[in-house]
């Protein structure tokens, strides 16, 4: 195991532990709120405590502007961010992978030219804009529970992500399909399903693994991008006058989105969730890099220059 992979696994492993047991370590409950207080010390000097409280002994990562502890919020929200992203990625790779294998094996070669330019043009409309259009009508102050809303978003992200996974897998499958051992197996009378299972799948399992980790990163990115436009995982609570948006689940992308205007004053409210999110993404990135390194060595050639 190389160092990159090890570092990545340690970071993501820790994040998964946080997602699983986070609420147990939380110093406060989600409803604990610090109110404006006037405390008179022993020397008779009065001090006013008002939210937001900067990071310190009582609140390790500080509180947000309404006086809720940020660390607690992060610990409670982690499970939505991490498990949802992993869940969607696994589902995307399984379903998209199967479709890609089928298309790559049974599909005709070299007939996908005209489809390409169509999907090429559609690159002009970013994915998160499509998700935004689908979710904006239902995501603000929704009737459904946060869990149902997360599930709904998961389904949308799953369906939207399948084509790209399928086409990646299809390309890889089409290459292996032309190899001699596949042709040998075919001439010995193996059926399509048998070849997919015992020749194509074993050759692609490393690619599937890397693809899955990369999909996790893409989904986390989408969570964040949507949050910038006030679509939070699990639904958005909107308060009018002044219009404010809050994440119902404390999902990390949502925490970034609702606090992103705080880079002028009380900056910890801005950078604490952002830092947590960046560490998470970097963890997965290191895993993907590490896996690529590990498997890449098997086939690499050397430069002549």
């Amino acid at each position: 195991m190389n160092k990159t992979l090890l570092a990545g696994l340690i970071v993501t492993g820790m994040m998964v532990v946080i997602a699983l047991f986070g609420p147990l370590f939380a110093p406060y409950s989600l409803d604990d709120q610090i109110k404006i207080e006037y405390i008179v010390g022993e020397d008779g000097e009065g001090t006013v405590i008002a939210p937001p409280v900067a990071p310190g002994a009582d609140y390790p990562l500080g509180t947000d502007k309404n006086g809720y502890d940020l660390l607690t919020k992060l610990l409670y929200g982690a499970k939505y961010t991490i498990f949802l992203a992993i869940g969607i990625a696994v589902a995307r790779v399984i379903i998209g992978g199967l479709i890609g294998l089928m298309l790559g094996y049974y599909g005709k070669q070299g007939t996908d030219k005209k489809g390409n330019s169509f999907w090429g043009m559609l690159n002009g409309i970013p994915i998160f804009l499509i998700v935004w259009l689908i979710m904006i009508g239902i995501s603000i102050n929704p009737n459904a529970s946060p869990f149902m809303m997360s599930l709904l978003l998961a389904i949308v992200l799953l369906v939207i992500g399948i084509p790209s996974v399928a086409s990646t897998v299809k390309e890889k499958t089409a290459v292996i399909r032309e190899k001699q051992f596949v042709q040998a197996s075919e001439s010995l009378g193996a059926g399509g399903w048998k070849i997919i299972r015992s020749h194509l799948l074993p050759h692609l399992k490393e690619s599937f693994l890397i693809l899955m980790v990369q999909e996790v990163i893409l989904i986390l990115t989408l969570f964040g991008q949507l949050a910038i436009f006030h679509i939070f995982v699990g639904g958005t609570t909107m308060y009018p006058d002044p219009t404010e948006y809050y994440s119902r689940t404390n999902e990390w992308g949502g925490l970034i989105g609702q606090n992103r205007m705080n880079f002028y004053v009380n900056q910890w409210i801005f950078y604490v969730p952002l830092a947590a999110y960046v560490v998470l993404i970097l963890g997965f990135h290191l895993v993907a890099k590490g896996l690529e390194k590990r498997y890449g060595k098997m086939f690499s050639k050397f430069s002549h220059l």
């Binding site: 002009g124 259009l133 993404i281």
Partner: protein, 296 residues
């Protein structure tokens, strides 16, 4: 094989249909009144489409409300479109130029730490890069009192320019440089490279006149993906810096007074696709010129 014109004849209605359908989603998908469950009102969605098509002749489909004022799309789109076009072109051409040359450098040198930095930036989502850039300027301003660049456009006279441009260029350049460096490395393992070397040709000559012409086709093949990144990036950058481009046109006017404006979203999305096409064409032209320069 279908002729090109027939292909186009199929693609354009396909794209229009795609835009029409997705633009109606905010009307179609909603929760029922009271505690009602999720509802699909396709009827209402197609009603908006019908109204849009009916209003094409009278020009009604090209009006929209901004607050309480009625605006005409054609009067307003010019300035929005130009702003976006300026960013897309800069990001596409400068991004690929910087990406290609640094990519070549990365392929033939060690530059270990620089590669790690590029890799690190590549791992970060676009909006994180924008937020970090803004945060950095604010931190510098706090420490030194010097405001290097505008962090966001607050008034029309004082637009943020440098920072959005920087954010627009960094991301595609980074994508391009990793791609080019990878393809370059693969190309340098080919036998014709060692053949050229055996003939006694110089290193730079081999790189630019033997290897680069064989890398450019891959770059061209990946151009849709690059432009996709640029367009997604444009959305984030315009929104976070509040620059008046096509994305702001869509976002600021999609919902006015709680009412969804189907017409402006469709018109905005179509402008976006035209922007994409123009940007794509310009970068293709740039790559074509680059290919001519390094042709033997």
């Amino acid at each position: 094989m279908m002729p090109r014109s027939a292909q186009m004849a199929l693609i354009i209605p396909g794209i229009l249909l795609f835009v029409f359908l997705f633009a109606m989603m905010p009307v179609v998908l909603h929760f029922g009144p009271g505690d009602g469950g999720l509802q699909f009102s396709w009827g209402q969605g197609f009603q908006s489409l019908k109204a849009y098509i009916a209003g094409l002749g009278s020009g009604e489909s090209f009006t929209y409300y901004s607050g309480k004022n009625l605006h005409h799309f054609w009067e307003r789109i010019g300035i929005y479109f130009l702003t976006s076009f300026y960013y897309v072109t800069a990001a596409g051409i400068l991004g690929s130029a910087i990406g290609i040359f640094i990519g070549i450098y990365f392929a033939i040198s060690k530059a270990g730490w620089a590669k790690s930095v590029a890799d690190f930036i590549g791992a970060l989502p676009d909006f994180v890069i924008v937020l970090l850039l803004q945060f950095m300027i604010v931190l510098i301003a706090k420490e030194t009192g010097v405001v290097l660049f505008e962090v966001a456009t607050l008034s029309a006279d004082d637009p943020a320019v440098v920072l959005p441009l920087l954010a627009m260029i960094i991301i595609p350049a980074n994508y391009m440089l990793r791609n080019v460096s990878m393809q370059m490395k693969l190309t340098l393992t080919e036998d014709y490279i060692s053949n050229a070397k055996a003939k006694g040709m110089g290193k730079l000559y081999i790189i630019f006149y033997h290897a680069l012409p064989n890398v450019l086709p891959y770059v061209k093949g990946d151009l849709h993906k690059l432009m996709g990144i640029v367009m997604g990036n444009l959305f984030i950058v315009e929104y976070l810096f509040n620059n008046k481009g096509v994305s702001i046109l869509i976002f600021a006017h999609a919902f006015v007074g709680g009412e969804y404006q189907y017409d402006i979203v469709v018109n905005g999305l179509l402008s976006f696709l035209i922007l994409y096409g123009l940007g794509y064409g310009l970068v293709r032209l740039f790559l074509f010129a680059l290919g001519k320069v390094f042709q033997r």
